[in-house]
């Protein structure tokens, strides 16, 4: 059972209330595919991922980035029940999509960097710590049903 301080709860809700999913999702996901190109292995049917420009301009990438943000929003709304919230998605990623769970940390780092660039100086060390803790628990929950 993860314990959240009041600061952590309000910070996470605040971040997700303020960021534009349509912007941040595609930016974070495309950054992940560019910075860690081996993650492209799961998206063979996405079309042209040949270079950074192609990835950034790819509509399937943008759409999936937004899907990821909505997935995270479910966690924001259920911070006290993250394992249960992500149980089904964990099974999906393990049984159907066969995603190496180490990859979850990679997208999580890219999202941290994109949120940092959007928030600027407001992204203090304490805010960073809260976001990284939330994402770490999400990552753990997503890996939970693997066997």
């Amino acid at each position: 059972m993860v314990e959240w301080t009041d600061f952590e709860r309000s910070t996470i809700k605040d971040i997700f209330a303020k960021i534009d999913y349509d912007c941040v999702g595609p930016a974070a996901f495309s950054r992940c595919l560019i910075v860690y190109p081996w993650t492209q292995r799961y998206f063979g049917n996405f079309g042209n991922l040949y270079n950074a420009a192609a990835i950034i301009g790819n509509p399937n990438v943008a759409k999936h980035g937004i899907t990821i943000m909505h997935g995270l929003e479910r966690g924001v709304k259920n911070m006290d029940h993250l394992t249960e919230t992500y149980a089904e998605l964990s099974v999906l990623h393990s049984e159907k999509l066969h995603v190496d769970p180490d990859n979850f940390k990679l997208i999580s780092d890219c999202l941290t960097i994109v949120v940092a660039s959007r928030m600027g100086k407001a992204f203090t060390g304490e805010v960073q710590a809260a976001l990284q803790k939330f994402l770490a628990v999400v990552v753990f929950s997503l890996g939970r049903q693997y066997h």
Binding site: A52, I56, I113, S117, Q128, A129
Partner: protein, 143 residues
Amino acid sequence: MSLTDKDKAAVKALWGTISASADAIGADALGRLLVVYPQTKIYFKHWPDLSPNSPSVKNHGKNIMSGIALAVNKIDDLKSGLNALSEQHAFQLRVDPANFKLLSHCILVVLAIRFPHEFTPEAHVAMDKFFCGVSLALAEKYR
């Protein structure tokens, strides 16, 4: 995952833009490291003040960025360029090399905050590879 000519050019180009703020970047990154990864404080128990704006943190942030500047300069041969620093980290400081990744991440976050337009995905991948190379060179003498 060695640095291509394109990576080296990207690192040097970004360094050209950010180096004027090197001291502030170093202080911010180190301050962040101590807050986001509190276990890293164990290496600095001899400092009176570990808060982000303390003189110790500011000063040491500067030292770290001097090391990064050296690495940019020696980007064609990080192993021999960072030999002395590797010996220092291996035999004196004995910082667990896992921490190099944590500090690298904090520096990248600071770059995203301070240079959101210049820190493009292409610049990001080059810097990430560069910091991996620096970390490897720093760990060279450990065993």
